[in-house]
Symmetry: C2
Subunit: 216 residues, 2 copies
């Protein structure tokens, strides 16, 4: 794998696709999905605009790549957040769910541009991995995050904090609450909040969530 750090501009870039994705991700980071401008990404890489068409079918395809990366970042934030929460009791199970939510919300507030990019457009339900991963490859990132949620809710049910009769369908309630909290705070729909107010309001929402799931 050759290194391409040399300043010499060579006709063939060598790693243009990834370079474009990195540039596009940077654009998305500050500016959101609408800032992912194909020509701007090409300009940053030092390449002509149309060169991008050798690696992407168009701007929307580049944006899709950014979206994939953003979803992976979201998953990473969730995984990091629940590290160490591995107990067996009811409280540990509840903390597992909350930790996932905290990672989700913190990512949205720390990287609003990427978070918005991760959920832009409609997720095509007939993606490349519609029938499972083809050759042992990875699931789509969003599938992965949904799987984490499922596991944590299973643990919640196993610990007795979620009646078995209500286990099915719990994913939507949990995801909706967490996503809604993230979107509303990120969009400043509750006004400007101090960091302390933010954590307070977020924790309250998570408490309501797990309490609702625990109801008979």
């Amino acid at each position: 794998m050759p290194e391409h750090r040399s300043g010499k501009p060579r006709y063939h870039h060598g790693d243009l696709r990834n370079a474009l994705v990195r540039a596009a991700v940077d654009l998305a980071r500050d500016g959101g999905p609408e800032a992912v401008v194909l020509r701007a990404a090409a300009r940053r890489v030092g390449v002509s605009a149309t060169a991008a068409y050798r690696h992407f079918s168009g701007q929307s395809d580049l944006l899709a790549a950014v979206k994939d990366h953003a979803q992976q970042c979201l998953v990473a934030a969730m995984e990091e957040s629940r590290e160490g929460i591995r107990g067996e009791g009811v409280e540990a199970a509840r903390e597992g769910v909350k930790a996932l939510g905290r990672g989700y919300v913190r990512f949205a507030l720390r990287e609003p541009g990427l978070f918005r990019s991760a959920f832009c457009g409609t997720v095509d339900p007939l993606g490349a991995d519609a029938a499972g991963p083809p050759h042992g490859g990875q699931h789509h990132p969003q599938v992965r995050s949904f799987q984490m949620l499922t596991e944590s809710l299973d643990a919640l049910a196993e610990a007795g904090a979620l009646p078995a009769t209500r286990r099915q369908g719990a994913e939507l309630s949990a995801w909706a609450m967490v996503h809604g909290v993230a979107v509303l705070i990120m969009g400043r729909h509750l006004g400007e909040l101090t960091q302390e107010q933010t954590t307070q309001v977020v924790e309250r929402a998570f408490d309501d969530l797990v309490a609702g799931l625990a109801a008979p």
Copy 2:
């Protein structure tokens, strides 16, 4: 107030601002906020693109007008949905909250373009009505919908289905759950759902919400 339905193209339109808003709203209805293209709206009205600058400071200003209209539509949907739910008991209070949520979600699913337009960009927290309505005018639509939510939560508390100690901060939980449900279903993040599956999953989420709010 003159009528301008005549086919004769007159140099001075007479009601251009509202005509442009109507056209822009139509664009937003199918296509969302990114479909609100100034030149397209002007074309629909049969007027030059730059004419719009006599009534709007630019495209973002036109989009802001669309957003206002969309928020009013959302409020109307919520009001219609809770019509007739005026009882006094605990169950009536719960139904009041749920009715608001149902109107919210149904609007999002019936008019996704308008719903997305209603929440595009960040709500500028220092809007024209930051210090209350200036001269007896209306509150900003979003303030109105938030007020409806507040009232229904007050009723819930009064009926005993929301402990007084947890009354404060309940708005976020409720709004987040409802908003999250709307966004996730609208964005097809749970796959394609039949109408029946949709109502089922929505009602479940609302059950979890009111159960969570009722917890001690």
